[in-house]
């Protein structure tokens, strides 16, 4: 649902909404929250609803970030969002009770939408298992380091050591629950080398993708989260060998013993490369 790169687009900007379909992101996160002035919340909801009816976002997952359930705007947001064809709702500053509330509303409308909690407070990091476990509709999460560091009262740096605990804690949780996890956006849109380093850091911790806040970040993130050709070739070789072994247990490739973790990694590589195991000749 979230893919390798999810691009934030303000729901208040027709120009950005129009162009968002053309960018190579796996998902678009239309934002009704921080990117929209309070005086424009009504207009953004209406604009987005019409846009999702009118424009084609084929091949992209559509996620809508509503306002926090601690504000006066979320109920109108969700009322609009549940009438759209969006794939999921992103819930900022998520708490377990928020996820249950949104999930119940979706249940009552027979909606098939998913929920993407945005984890951006110290409390929500500590409660991550309760947040993910609050609804089977939770298919992925996003870590928001800017609000998290503000909540912690600590300085946010490009190097990011101050968010390492939270970042790693959430990455572990997504794998424990078998869901997707988007790493926090890199906010300096001019610094592509910094973006590269930050993306690789998140990937090394276990994130399955990263949020982008500018279209120029999309290509770099997508490339880094897509397996290289050598990795894909090796994964294909492993899966072919698995098939040939026919469940006979351990075997070797090029003199190296192949066991369950290596097979699991090969499957993940092919998944990320969008190659179906059954399509391998």
């Amino acid at each position: 649902m979230l893919g390798r790169v999810a691009l934030f687009v303000p729901a208040s900007s027709p120009a950005m909404i129009n162009s968002s379909a053309a960018f190579d992101a796996d998902a678009i996160i239309f934002d009704l929250e921080d990117a929209v002035a309070i005086s424009e919340k009504d207009a953004a909801r209406e604009l987005l609803r019409e846009a999702l009816d009118f424009l084609s976002f084929k091949g992209k997952n559509i996620i809508i970030r509503i306002n926090s359930l601690t504000t006066a705007y979320w109920e109108k947001d969700i009322d609009y969002v549940l009438k759209t064809s969006a794939d999921a709702v992103m819930v900022p500053k998520a708490r377990p009770s928020d996820i249950k509330t949104i999930s119940s509303m979706m249940d009552s409308m027979d909606s098939t939408m998913g929920i993407v909690p945005l984890i951006e407070t110290a409390a929500s990091v500590e409660e991550i298992t309760n947040i993910i476990g609050a609804s089977p509709r939770v298919k992925g999460i996003l870590f928001g380091a800017e609000d998290y560091t503000a909540d912690m009262g600590i300085e946010r740096t490009k190097e990011g050591s101050e968010v390492l605990y939270a970042r790693a804690r959430l990455a572990n949780a997504i794998h424990a629950f078998g869901i997707e996890g988007l790493d926090t956006p890199f906010t300096d849109t001019e610094d592509i080398e910094g973006l590269r380093k930050d993306t690789l850091q998140g990937k090394s911790l276990g994130y399955t993708g990263k949020a982008a806040i500018n279209p120029r970040q999309v290509e770099t993130i997508k490339q880094l989260y897509t397996p290289g050709q050598d990795d894909i070739n090796y994964a294909i070789k492993v899966m072919k060998a698995v098939r040939q072994a026919g469940g006979k247990g351990a075997f070797s490739i090029d003199g190296k013993m192949i066991d369950a973790p290596i097979i699991a990694r090969a499957r993940i590589t092919l998944e990320r490369a969008r190659i179906g195991v059954n399509t391998i000749d």
């Binding site: 027709p14 120009a15 129009n18 207009a43 604009l47 609803r49 009118f54």
Partner: protein, 90 residues
């Protein structure tokens, strides 16, 4: 239903439009567009369709279009009307 007070929605940025509505005796629509020659008729049709769908019988509508697509025009007109204080419009 009538427009009871002046209201605006939208912007003059590219791909957007600024819609101003205010009370008026009867219905009047003025359109300025950077693509008037090519799409003027289409824009007028959209404006009139939205006005009709919201049962508006009187009001002045000024549309300053900067290349807005159909969905944007519809959304901006609808919100301008809602902001103008018309009840039960949807």
């Amino acid at each position: 239903m009538e427009i009871v007070k002046e209201a605006v929605a939208g912007t003059l940025e590219s791909s957007d439009c600024l819609v101003m509505v205010k009370p008026y005796e009867g219905l009047k629509v003025d359109i300025e567009s950077i693509v008037m020659e090519r799409y003027g008729r289409r824009i007028r049709q959209i404006v009139e369709d939205v006005i009709k769908s919201m049962d508006i019988t009187s009001g002045y509508f000024k549309i300053q279009d900067r290349g807005a697509l159909d969905y944007c025009l519809k959304a901006r007109i609808r919100i301008a009307i809602e902001r103008a204080g018309v009840d039960n419009v949807r």
